[in-house]
């Protein structure tokens, strides 16, 4: 029996097809010689490293079935528990489970990156809860939370992305993209271009439908801030097209609502506005019903805004 790890072969195969050098691929993750040995099946690839490498090649392993040993399976299972708790906004449980994850983990880069990122996400969730309460004496606390979160995100990125990368296009794993996008959402950093470049690099990127709508949403927001409504509309249309074939409605409502706002900005002063107004209301409705289903209180905001548009009819 020839003992060759299929995963290494797969990475080699994808890398050749995508015409990516070993040096560019493993930058910040492992050494070129280690990658080389893994590709040849001389050593086993830790599962998380394999995942990150494949993601940097535009292949999410959704399409693969991985059989894991108990220890590796535990990482995945524990990550799932933490993320489910975050989903439910159960801060306390998420914190406890994250501590447990840290305890079972070796001091390995990708684990550390994950822990830092999740800690940052937790802080951001706390922050949004404080903001919702809107009490004044928490202002100072909010500031320090925001600063710690930003610091954590920065540290998480620096673990695998060199500060001044030598290669022209930086390749990104899913976690790296998520960290960047969280940073963009929170602090409006102009990192978005590098993420978009990466997403555009691979035509068949499996992560596309998960990330593209968010990228487009963020870009459109920035464009609208600068009153470039026509360009914003184009970005949003692309975002919605991808969101339609995705399995999640996560950004759909925001996309529709922003589209309605951009339409107004673009056409309000023009004679065609009467016709466009109908389209505008359609998008408002879409956003409204999505928020309603989700139990999201932004529904009210859409309703109010929609009424003012209707009021001018």
């Amino acid at each position: 029996m020839i003992e060759r790890s299929k995963l290494g072969e797969l990475i080699f195969f994808c890398r050749k097809i995508q015409k990516v050098s070993q040096y560019d691929l493993c930058s910040g993750l492992c050494s070129v010689s280690t990658l080389s040995r893994m590709e040849h099946g001389e050593i086993d690839i830790p599962i998380l490293l394999a995942q990150a490498l494949l993601q940097r090649l535009g292949v999410d392993i959704d399409r693969f079935e991985l059989l894991l040993g108990e220890q590796e399976y535990k990482y995945f299972a524990q990550r799932q528990i933490i993320e489910d708790a975050l989903h439910r906004e159960d801060i306390l449980q998420a914190e406890q489970e994250l501590v447990r994850y840290q305890e079972m983990m070796a001091q390995e880069k990708l684990h550390q990156q994950y822990v830092k990122f999740l800690n940052a996400k937790l802080l951001i969730l706390k922050l949004s809860k404080l903001e919702a309460q809107g009490r004044n004496h928490t202002k100072k606390e909010q500031k320090s939370l925001a600063a710690s979160a930003e610091q954590l995100l920065k540290e998480a990125l620096e673990l695998t992305i060199l500060e001044s990368p030598k290669q022209k296009h930086v390749l990104l794993s899913k976690t790296e993209i998520e960290i960047l996008m969280t940073a963009v959402q929170q602090y409006g950093l102009e990192k978005i271009v590098c993420v978009e470049e990466f997403v555009n690099k691979y035509e068949s990127l499996e992560l596309k439908e998960k990330i593209y709508p968010l990228i487009k949403l963020q870009k459109a927001k920035r464009l609208l801030d600068r009153e470039k409504s026509e360009e914003a509309l184009a970005e949003l249309r692309e975002g919605m097209a991808i969101a339609e074939i995705s399995m999640s409605y996560l950004y759909c409502a925001e996309l529709h609502f922003l589209y309605a706002k951009a339409l107004q900005m673009q056409w309000q002063e023009k004679p065609q506005w009467k016709q466009i107004q109908k389209e505008c209301i359609e998008h408002c409705k879409a956003a409204y019903y999505l928020y309603e289903f989700d139990g999201d209180c932004r529904k009210k905001e859409v309703e109010q805004w929609g009424c003012t548009v209707l009021g001018n009819l």
Binding site: F13, D60, F64, Q80
Partner: protein, 314 residues
């Protein structure tokens, strides 16, 4: 991603094939060691792992693709194919699957994927009867599961391909109004995937899809209360996972079952015609917001049929 726990899989395969630990481990490792693998106290080395899986007649690789091939175009085609299925555009999906057939490699998993999808599509396009489709799907299932008729899917660790084949088989029962058979199969599969040999998000999507089919079949069978309860359960899972898979369909099933109960004029209902209308309208609006054009039209007509008026949204 389908992530499976190796020890758990070995144990379940062994039990499904009615082998004892002694029989499986003989000449490979000691019974004690096998037991430690199965309980998760020890991780099998690659060599032993391959031998064990080999004896069980299973894939010996630690990771393999649901579909693989030497051509990166395949990835694009599959994404495109799934998007078509998703938008209920069966003709386009059919064209793509034909292309795929000539491109994929001839590993068991790839063949299984393409053959199963073709059979399901042929049934949708009315080229073959549900009965014929079921026969084909069973054959395809046998590529990886010996004697599927004898397996207890409550316990059997199903891989992604196998799961989707069973889902399609349930649909063939539905097409023939054999609700009992369809429900029995899907209930077992649902139990199976909940019983913990696989992890992560993909399995939530599958769970929602299966629950949708189950709710639909319970409704058609006349158990409207059960249909509504299942749909509600699935909808809350959708909310939790921000999942749009089958969302409007679930709402429609719910509205339809509510309608049937209201027509029977049952006294103890905790909803009214107004609620029922609201659910169907929500289904329509979400289908439209999610860009499911084909389904939006269907729901529009359903609303007109049920309530004798155009669906109006304010």
């Amino acid at each position: 991603m389908g992530v499976y726990c190796a020890g758990e899989l070995i144990k379940r395969y062994r039990e499904a094939q009615r082998l004892t630990q002694e029989q499986l481990s003989e000449g490979i490792c000691s019974v004690e060691t096998l037991s430690r693998f199965e309980n998760g106290h020890q991780t099998p080395g690659r060599h032993i792992y391959q031998q064990l899986m080999g004896r069980l007649g299973k894939n010996t690789e630690r990771a393999y693709a649901v579909v693989c091939g030497r051509n990166i175009k395949i990835s694009d085609l599959i994404a495109e194919y799934q998007a078509c299925r998703w938008r209920l555009e069966y003709e386009e999906a059919d064209t793509i699957i034909k292309k795929l057939e000539s491109l994929v490699d001839d590993s068991t998993t790839s063949r299984q994927y393409v053959l199963a999808q073709s059979a399901a599509l042929d049934m949708h396009l009315l080229r073959i009867s549900p009965q014929e489709a079921r026969k084909q799907l069973l054959e395809v299932l046998k590529l990886t599961i010996s004697e599927p008729e004898r397996q207890d899917f409550n316990r059997y660790p199903l891989m992604a391909n196998e799961l989707s084949i069973l889902y399609h088989i349930a649909n063939t029962y539905l097409a023939e109004d054999q609700f009992d058979a369809g429900i029995k199969l899907l209930e077992a599969v649902l139990q199976g995937i909940k019983s913990g040999y696989r992890g992560t998000e993909v399995y939530h999507y599958k769970e929602i899809m299966i629950m949708e089919r189950l709710a639909h079949m319970y409704g058609r069978m006349g158990d409207y209360h059960k249909a509504i309860a299942l749909a509600e359960q699935a909808l809350s899972l959708c909310r939790q996972q921000k999942c749009s898979v089958r969302l409007p369909q679930l709402l429609q099933t719910m509205a339809w079952s509510m309608e049937q109960l209201l027509q029977q004029e049952e006294k103890t209902l905790d909803f009214t015609w107004k609620d029922c209308k609201k659910v169907l309208r929500q289904a329509y609006c979400l289908a439209s917001a999610l860009g499911q054009k084909h389904y939006t039209e269907i729901l529009k007509n359903r609303y007109l049929e049920s309530f004798g008026e155009e669906v109006s949204v304010v």
